[in-house]
C-alpha cells in the first residue's frame, strides 16, 4: 500500500471537488442580480396573457421600471405555484387569478393589498369581489359552451343551447371539457353547472359521464386538440369563452362573414380576472405603479383585440369590430363570492370523486 501516493491522489481529488463546487457556487451567485441596476419587475401571468408587443414601453419611459413577463401555463397552475411559494414569490406582480380561484389565493395570503389610483373607474361589480383590495380587477369575460356551427349544420342537428340539453343522447360523445381541478375555465364551467342546476348538479355530471363527456387536462388541449373547429379532433362542443367565436373571425385570413362557432348564452358564467402584488416582493413601490398601469386606459384598451376579454376600466373604449362580433350575455350565471370561498374545495372534491377516480 503506497500511503504517500494515496495521500497525494486524495488531496488532488479533494481539490478537484472543491474547484468544481466553487465553480458551481460562483455561477449560481452570478445568476443573482445586483441592486444597482434599474428595477425590473417580473410579471407572472398565464399563457393567454398576450398584450401587444411593446405595450410596456410607455410605462418604462415614464417610470424607468422594466417589465419582464413570464408565462407559465393555465391560471390554475399559476395560482397553485403562487400558493406554494407564498411569502417567497417567483415574481413581483401576478396577473390572472380569477374569481373562481381567488379564495384559494387569499386564504394562502399570496398578495399584499393595494388600492389603485384608478379605483373609481373600475367596474363596481368586480371591485366588490375583493373589497379589501388584496387584488385589483383587470378584465372580465364569460366562460360558455361553444359549438361548431358547421358540424351541426352538416348533420342537421340542432346545437345544444342549455346545460340540461347536453345530457340528451343526441349529444353523446360530443363534449370536451378542461379539467376543473387544473384549469380555470374548467372550474368556471363546473361552477356554471352548480349555479344552473343547484342540488342536481352531481346528477347532471353523472349523466354527462354516461353521455361520454371527455375530460382533458387544459383548455388549450380541449380547444386546439379536440375541438372540431380548431383542430382535427372529433368533438364539436367545447368549454371556452364567449369571445372565442369573434377570435375565430378576427384572426382568420380571409375573414368569414360570420363566426364559424357560437357560444350558448344560457350556459355562460361571468368570470373576472385580477392582478395583485405578491407578498414578499422586494419592489413593492414599483409594483404598485405597475398595477396602476395595468388598469389604466392605455393598457385596458389593448385588451379586447389581443386577449379577447372585456376591459374593467369603464372609461376604456372598446373597438367597434370587437363589439360587432361578440356576445355579452346579459344575465350570465353567477355564484356568490362567499359560496365559492366556502365550497370550492368540497365541490372540486365531489367532482373528482364522480369523474376522475
Amino acid at each position: 500500500m503506497n500511503n504517500e501516493g494515496l495521500r497525494i491522489r486524495l488531496r488532488r481529488g479533494v481539490t478537484a471537488v472543491i474547484a468544481v463546487a466553487g465553480a458551481v457556487v460562483a455561477s449560481t451567485l452570478a445568476a443573482c442580480g445586483t441592486s444597482d441596476e434599474p428595477v425590473t419587475l417580473t410579471l407572472l401571468a398565464h399563457d393567454s396573457f398576450t398584450p401587444t408587443e411593446g405595450i410596456f414601453a410607455s410605462f418604462t419611459a415614464e417610470t424607468g421600471i422594466q417589465v419582464e413577463v413570464v408565462r407559465s401555463g393555465d391560471a390554475g397552475t399559476l395560482v397553485t405555484k403562487a400558493v406554494l411559494s407564498a411569502g417567497n414569490p417567483e415574481g413581483d406582480v401576478l396577473w390572472g387569478v380569477d374569481n373562481t380561484l381567488l379564495s384559494r389565493a387569499l386564504d394562502a395570503r399570496v398578495f399584499v393589498p393595494y388600492r389603485t389610483v384608478h379605483h373609481d373607474d373600475l367596474d363596481p361589480e368586480a371591485v366588490t369581489l375583493a373589497p379589501a383590495n388584496e387584488v385589483t380587477p383587470v378584465d372580465s369575460g364569460d366562460v360558455c359552451i361553444n359549438y361548431d356551427k358547421q358540424w351541426f349544420a352538416d348533420r342537421e342537428i340542432a346545437p345544444p343551447l342549455t346545460l340540461r340539453a347536453l345530457t340528451l343522447p343526441t349529444y353523446r360523445d360530443l363534449l370536451v371539457i378542461p379539467n376543473p381541478v387544473s384549469s380555470s375555465p374548467g372550474l368556471a364551467f363546473l361552477l356554471a353547472t352548480i349555479a344552473d342546476l343547484g342540488d342536481e348538479w352531481q346528477l347532471w355530471w353523472k349523466s354527462m359521464r354516461d353521455n361520454g363527456v371527455l375530460v382533458v387536462e387544459s383548455w388549450s388541449d380541449a380547444y386546439y386538440g379536440h375541438f372540431t373547429a380548431a383542430s382535427d379532433g372529433d368533438r364539436p362542443i367545447v368549454v371556452s369563452y364567449a369571445t372565442s367565436p369573434p377570435a375565430e373571425v378576427i384572426f382568420a385570413d380571409p375573414r368569414p362573414s360570420e363566426a364559424p362557432t357560437a357560444a350558448a348564452a344560457l350556459t355562460c358564467l361571468r368570470q373576472y380576472e385580477f392582478a395583485g402584488i405578491l407578498r414578499g416582493t422586494k419592489h413593492e413601490a414599483e409594483a404598485r405603479r405597475l398595477i396602476d398601469f395595468l388598469v389604466s386606459r392605455t393598457f385596458q384598451e389593448d385588451l379586447p383585440l389581443t386577449q379577447f376579454v372585456w376591459p374593467i376600466n369603464k372609461t376604456a373604449t372598446v373597438p367597434q369590430e370587437f363589439l360587432d362580433y361578440s356576445l355579452r350575455p346579459e344575465r350570465p350565471l353567477t355564484i356568490s363570492r362567499a359560496a365559492i370561498a366556502t365550497n370550492r374545495a368540497e365541490w372540486l372534491e365531489q367532482f373528482s370523486s364522480l369523474m376522475l377516480r
Binding site: T28, G87, N88, N179, E217, S220, E349
Partner: protein, 533 residues
C-alpha cells in the same frame, strides 16, 4: 495463524468507533431534518381525525387504490413477459453485443418519465392516447431493465448444469425448471417484481401523460388533492395510506420469495457461448428488443429537428441560446450535487449496515423508506415545512437536490452494501495488524476497493436526479426549473416551435442520461474484472 490483536484493537472492535459515530450522525441528521420533519409537519399541522375519516370513507378513494394496485400488477406481469426472452438470452449466453444490449435496456430505465410519455404520445395513434394499454406499455418500457439486470445476473451465476443433473435423475425439462431453476431464481424474481411494482404503483408522470385526467393512481391523486383542490390534509392521508400499502405488499412478496440459499458455489460458470440452434432466435430477440427500445428515443430526436412538417433546427437553437438553457444548468447543478451528497450519505449508511449488526439491520430496512414515501409526498412535505424565516429554503438552488438525494440514497445503498460485504476481511485484518487506525483502514482498504462502486453509484444518482419529475415539478422555481419540468411545461403548450423546443430539450436530456449510464457501465464492468482476479 493470524497474529493476535492488541487489547486496544480489540476494544476498538467492540465499542462504536469514532468513524461509525460520524457516519451514524450524518445519516441520522440528514433523515431527521429532510425526511422525518417534513413528514411530521404534514401529519401534525395538516391532519385531523376528521380528515382521515373523510378520505377513507369515500368510495372513490378505494377506486383509486384499486386502480393503482391492478395497473401496477398488470404492469409487472407485462414487464416480465416482455423481458423474458432478452433476460434468458443475456443471462444464459455469452455473445457479441450482449453488453450493449443490456446497456440499451437500462437506458429505458433511466429515461425521464416525461420524455417517455412524450415519446409514446408521438408514436401511438390518437385512439391509444388515454388508455391503460399505453400506460402499461410505458411502464414495461422502463422496467425491462430491472428484470434483465436483476434476474439476468442471477441467471449468470446459476449453474445451469444443475438442470442436467436433475434430468438424469428422472426429471423432464419442465419439471427440472420448476424444481431447480425456479427456486434458485425466486428471490431475484421477487426482488425485481418488488422494484417494478414500487415504480408502477407510485407512477405519476406516465399515468398523467398517457392515462388522461380520469385515471389516477394514489400518487397522482395526492397531487390532485394537494395542488389541484388545495386539500393538503386529504393528500396527507392518502400519502400515508400509500406508504402502508407499499410496506404491506413488499413484506408479502419478500416472505413469499423465501430465503436465499446461504451461499453460491465458489466459481460460477461463465455464460456459455450461443449454440447454433438458438442463434436465429437470438438474433430475432435482439433485433426486436433493440428496435422497441430505440424507437421512442429516435422519435424524440426526430421530432426535435422538425417544426411542423419541415426540417428545422430552431428548437435546438432556442434550447442552446435562450433562457431555456438555464434549465440545462439547473439540471446539471442539481444532478452533480445529488451525486456527491448521495454517495456520501449512502456510503455512511452502507458502512453502518455492513459493520454494525443490530443497528445495521435497522438502517438497512429504514433506508428503503424514502422509496415508499413517494416523490410528490416528499416535495409536498418539503414545501410546507421549510417556508418561513431563516429556514425558508424553497428558493434555494440546492433544495431540489435534497429531494433527489432522498430518492437516490436507497438505490445506492442497495448497490454499495453487497459490494462492501464482498471485501475480504483478511484485508482489514492485515491492515489492523499493521497498525492502521480505523479511519486509515477506511481509506486504504474500503474506499480503495470500492472506488469503482462509488463511481457507479455517483453515475446512478446523477441519472436519477436528471430524470426526476414528481418532486422537481413542485420544488423547481421559475428560471431554475430542471429539464424534465421544463419539457413538461413546454409540452403543455401548443405550437409547432414550442413542440420542437420541448423535444430538443428532451433529446439533450437523453444524451445526459446516456452519459451517466456509460459511467455506471464502465465502472461496473471494470469492477467485475477486478473481482475475478
Amino acid at each position: 495463524m493470524m497474529p493476535r490483536l492488541t487489547a486496544a484493537q480489540r476494544r476498538e472492535r467492540v465499542t462504536t468507533t469514532r468513524v461509525s459515530q460520524a457516519a451514524i450522525g450524518m445519516v441520522v441528521v440528514w433523515f431527521a431534518v429532510f425526511l422525518v420533519t417534513p413528514l411530521g409537519v404534514l401529519v401534525t399541522q395538516n391532519l385531523e381525525w376528521a380528515d382521515i375519516q373523510r378520505v377513507l370513507s369515500d368510495v372513490s378513494t378505494w377506486r383509486v387504490v384499486w386502480f393503482s394496485l391492478w395497473q401496477s400488477m398488470l404492469s409487472v406481469a407485462a414487464t416480465f413477459v416482455i423481458a423474458a426472452p432478452v433476460t434468458w438470452l443475456v443471462g444464459r449466453y455469452e455473445f457479441r453485443g450482449r453488453r450493449p444490449l443490456r446497456a440499451l435496456t437500462t437506458v429505458g430505465f433511466l429515461l425521464p418519465s416525461v420524455v417517455v410519455g412524450a415519446a409514446f404520445l408521438a408514436m401511438l395513434p390518437r385512439s391509444m392516447h388515454s388508455s391503460i394499454v399505453a400506460v402499461v406499455l410505458a411502464h414495461a418500457y422502463f422496467n425491462v431493465a430491472v428484470v434483465v439486470r436483476v434476474v439476468g445476473s442471477r441467471l449468470e451465476t446459476l449453474d445451469i448444469r444443475l438442470v442436467e443433473a436433475a434430468r438424469v435423475l428422472g426429471a423432464s425439462s419442465p419439471v427440472a425448471m420448476g424444481t431447480i431453476v425456479w427456486p434458485l431464481c425466486r428471490r431475484a424474481v421477487g426482488s425485481a417484481a418488488i422494484v417494478i411494482f414500487l415504480y408502477c404503483f407510485t407512477s405519476f408522470a406516465v399515468v398523467r401523460v398517457l392515462g388522461g385526467p380520469t385515471r389516477n393512481t394514489i400518487e397522482s391523486d395526492i397531487a390532485l388533492r394537494a395542488f389541484g383542490i388545495g386539500d393538503i390534509s386529504g393528500a396527507t392521508v392518502l400519502a400515508f395510506l400509500q406508504v402502508a400499502l407499499i410496506v404491506a405488499v413488499v413484506s408479502i412478496v419478500q416472505r413469499a420469495a423465501g430465503r436465499e440459499p446461504s451461499h453460491l458455489r465458489a466459481a460460477a460458470p461463465s455464460p456459455e457461448a450461443l449454440p447454433q440452434r438458438v442463434r436465429g432466435l437470438a438474433l430475432l430477440v435482439v433485433t426486436i428488443t433493440s428496435a422497441l427500445i430505440a424507437m421512442p428515443l429516435l422519435a424524440v430526436f426526430w421530432r426535435s429537428a422538425r417544426v411542423g412538417d419541415e426540417f428545422s433546427l430552431e428548437g435546438w437553437r432556442a434550447v442552446l441560446t435562450t433562457s431555456l438553457f438555464n434549465s440545462v444548468m439547473a439540471s446539471l447543478r442539481t444532478a452533480i450535487l445529488t451525486g456527491v451528497l448521495g454517495v456520501l450519505l449512502a456510503a455512511a449508511t452502507a458502512f453502518v449496515v455492513v459493520r454494525m449488526r443490530g443497528l445495521g439491520r435497522v438502517l438497512d430496512s429504514a433506508s428503503v423508506i424514502p422509496l415508499a414515501v413517494s416523490p410528490v409526498t416528499l416535495g409536498l412535505g418539503l414545501v410546507v415545512t421549510f417556508d418561513e424565516s431563516w429556514y425558508d429554503w424553497r428558493a434555494a438552488w440546492w433544495f431540489v437536490a435534497v429531494a433527489h438525494t432522498m430518492s437516490a440514497v436507497p438505490l445506492l445503498v442497495r448497490v454499495l452494501v453487497p459490494a462492501w460485504r464482498s471485501i475480504p476481511s483478511r484485508l482489514h485484518e492485515a491492515a489492523t495488524v499493521l497498525g492502521a487506525s480505523e479511519f486509515r483502514r477506511l481509506i486504504d482498504v474500503d474506499v480503495r476497493y470500492l472506488k469503482r462502486t462509488f463511481v457507479a453509484g455517483l453515475g446512478l444518482a446523477v441519472a436519477v436526479s436528471l430524470g426526476e419529475f414528481g418532486a422537481a415539478s413542485i420544488l423547481s422555481r421559475r428560471g431554475a426549473e430542471t429539464m424534465p419540468v421544463a419539457v413538461a411545461r413546454l409540452l403543455e403548450r401548443t405550437g409547432d416551435l414550442i413542440r420542437a423546443q420541448a423535444f430538443a430539450l428532451a433529446s439533450l436530456l437523453i444524451v445526459f442520461c446516456v452519459g451517466a449510464l456509460l459511467v455506471v457501465e464502465s465502472a461496473t464492468a471494470g469492477r467485475r474484472h477486478a473481482g475475478n482476479r
